[in-house]
């Protein structure tokens, strides 16, 4: 094996949580016609926007896919785009938005590749209306280590399509993707935002909003003591006409990881309270540019570095609706009693459209995303306790955000994993996969 190639910037080999520092051999892919390297274990690496080890492969090979970034075809009448799997959502939008087309589903960052979006079957604020990413994928090409190349659609090679959608990169390399975009009148969204004082109010707001708003999401106040548990700001919006472009602001950079975490009790409480109490938290006719609506955190590149050299954990679970209020309350109380605090908390109701992927994360219920600075054993113990609540509720934790769930938890969250195993390419593996199945 050649010497591992490392980079001074965060590049292939690191993930968004800055928790894990593994050595890899990185093989940059520069075109879509090459054979896979004859070595193992292999794993595709997109843009490293997963938080934990789903995109890592300790002591193995990472196939860096960002060089597969060519557009292949775009039909501005039907809104069908075909491109290589390393194209970023941001680059796709730059090409298609002027023609009035937008990704049907987008996660909270535009810096993800299409391959990564398929492998985690990512979801957006419109899950209740359109399902997850792979519900809109028309076709992709899967390259296997035995040399076969499969054209997969929801009909052709359906079982491979369903194994690869949400398949955590384990079924092979996705080289090419054909995606159905959705028409939009322009770059703007309109809607409103309002405060809610309890989880009950959140569920009520969501019940009346889901039908009228394509995008809904809530932010929870993490500064509150027990008395305000579950208060926050609910945001809802739709695409609205308006073609005027915005002044593109240059993203702020955090070029170096500070030697200590900038996230502490003071900054967290201050920012959360300021956010909750700011006048804009209650807006009747809000208007957002798509970048600030979908990608509020992309304004600061390397935002993840503010957690300092020890990194941070994300915890995103989904809880079935019937028990959601009870289990979420339990989760909040458990956190409050632990001494650990989340910096950001986002809550969203998933809808009923079933995912195509046999391992996809989204399922009906309430999904809560939290992030915790890494305080070692203390943080891990809390997350373990949260898993107990999620398991008991019949929920699941999102592998794209995970760096620590146990085998038992994983196997309960994803009961299809045994069946899925038959589709895992024998030359492919990941640090996450070894962690939760061996």
């Amino acid at each position: 094996m050649a010497e591992p190639i490392t980079s001074w910037r965060s590049g292939p080999g690191s993930s968004w949580g800055n928790l894990l520092h593994y050595s890899h051999r990185v093989v940059p892919l520069t075109h879509r016609f090459a054979a896979l390297p004859d070595s193992s274990p292999l794993l595709a690496y997109g843009n490293g926007r997963s938080y934990g080890d789903v995109c890592l492969n300790q002591d193995g090979v990472l196939l860096a896919t960002r060089g597969l970034d060519r557009f292949i075809a775009f039909d501005s009448v039907s809104g069908v785009i075909e491109c290589e799997a390393g194209v970023l959502l941001n680059d796709l939008i730059e090409l298609t938005l002027p023609y009035g087309w937008f990704p049907p589903v987008t996660p909270g960052t535009g810096f993800v590749t299409l391959g990564g979006a398929i492998a985690n079957d990512v979801h957006g604020k419109n899950h209740h209306r359109v399902g997850s990413f792979c519900n809109h994928v028309l076709e992709f090409e899967l390259q296997r280590s035995d040399g076969t190349v499969l054209r997969c659609t929801p009909e052709e090679n359906r079982e491979w399509f369903c194994a690869t959608a949400g398949g955590l990169g384990l079924t092979g390399l996705i080289r090419r993707v054909r995606l159905q975009l959705r028409p939009v009148p322009g770059p703007w969204l309109g809607g409103d935002s309002r405060r809610f004082r309890s989880l009950g109010e959140f569920f009520e707001l969501d019940r009346v909003s889901g039908g009228n708003y394509e995008y809904t999401v809530a932010w929870l106040d993490c500064a509150t003591g027990k008395s305000h548990l579950g208060r926050g700001v609910y945001m809802r919006g739709n695409h609205v006409p308006g073609r005027e472009p915005v002044k593109s602001r240059l993203p702020v950079r955090l070029p170096l990881t500070p030697p200590f975490s900038l996230i502490n009790g003071l900054t967290r409480n201050f920012l959360n309270q300021a956010y909750f109490h700011r006048p804009a938290a209650e807006q009747s006719a809000a208007r957002w540019h798509y970048q600030s609506f979908f990608y509020p955190l992309d304004g600061i590149l390397e935002l993840n570095r503010m957690f300092g050299p020890k990194g941070f954990f994300q915890y995103q679970c989904v809880i079935p609706e019937a028990v959601a209020e009870r289990s979420l309350t339990e989760i909040f109380e458990r956190i409050a009693g632990s001494g650990e605090r989340s910096f950001l908390a986002v809550l969203k109701m998933f809808g009923r459209i079933p995912p195509l992927g046999m391992m996809s994360f989204p399922r009906p219920g309430a999904t809560l995303a939290l992030d915790f600075p890494n305080h070692g054993a203390r943080t891990l113990a809390l997350l373990e306790a949260l898993d107990a609540i999620t398991v008991a509720a019949g929920g699941a934790v999102y592998p794209a955000k995970d760096a620590r769930m146990s085998q038992d938890s994983f196997q309960q969250y994803f009961p299809n994993w045994r069946q899925f195993k038959a589709y895992v390419d024998p030359a492919f593996s990941s640090s996450l996969w070894r962690r939760v199945t061996q």
């Binding site: 490392t6 075109h31 016609f33 060519r70 557009f71 090409l95």
Partner: protein, 245 residues
């Protein structure tokens, strides 16, 4: 709109540069060795805004076919006013030391083929009294070093050749741009450990396009290689010969 011939169009630096031209709506004629890769790049460039992106398969060592190549580029694009010569191989120094044949082949690929193409382009551009030729040389051509002097001397030949040609063409309205990249993160340098001195192909491309539009004579990419190489050139030979660079 520029009408641009790119030799070595599958190179990472060339492709990134072509994207900048595509964004400006220029017309491109792409030359390289792999038909399928050229076609994939051409389709992408058209979607990114290129007025045209045509492919032509040719090995740079097939120098006897250069006249036909240049004619066909001008015919397909309806004229020709710009060229970027980007192909190259980072020669295996040890193999070049062991075999005269290998050494000469490497020199032919990296120097003679580009000089041959420049000769034809210069005559055409001089006749039409306008045009820009850009050639990717290298900082490695600024001084021969034991670790890669075959590659380095081929690039040195390119630098000297383009310098002379620049003088000759100056009064005829033709610009000659010698591009000297330092470290760029591309397939050519995949085996190297990357550090702070490394630039991405996209960054290099932005500098290159700007220089080609302005007609900058010699471009170091990025700029800091100019003072760095000035220092390296200034080291007296009696000291340099003892160094392990």
């Amino acid at each position: 709109m520029r009408r641009i011939l790119i030799m070595g169009a599958t190179s990472a630096i060339a492709e990134a540069t072509a994207r900048e031209f595509a964004r400006r709506g220029d017309a491109l004629f792409l030359v390289g060795r792999s038909a399928e890769r050229l076609q994939a790049i051409a389709a992408d460039l058209k979607l990114r805004g290129a007025t045209a992106a045509e492919c032509h398969v040719l090995d740079a060592r097939g120098m006897d076919r250069f006249p036909a190549l240049v004619d066909s580029a001008a015919e397909v694009l309806g004229g020709l006013d710009t060229a970027l010569i980007a192909h190259g191989t980072l020669s295996d120094q040890a193999a070049c030391e062991a075999s005269v044949e290998t050494m000469m082949q490497e020199f032919a690929t990296n120097a003679l083929s580009a000089m041959a193409l420049c000769t034809l382009l210069a005559n055409r551009f001089a006749a039409q009294r306008h045009g820009t030729i850009a050639v990717i040389s290298s900082v490695a051509g600024d001084r021969g070093r034991q670790s890669n002097y075959v590659y380095g001397s081929a690039k040195a030949a390119l630098s000297a050749f383009t310098s002379g040609m620049r003088q000759r063409l100056h009064s005829q309205g033709v610009r000659m741009v010698t591009i000297k990249p330092g470290f760029v993160d591309t397939p050519m340098t995949v085996a190297f450990r990357k550090g702070v001195l490394w630039a991405s192909p996209a960054t290099a491309a932005r500098y290159i396009v700007r220089a080609m539009i302005k007609g900058t004579p010699v471009l170091y990419v990025p700029w800091f290689w100019r003072p760095v190489m000035a220092i390296i050139r200034a080291v007296p030979e009696f000291i340099f010969q003892r160094l392990r660079l």
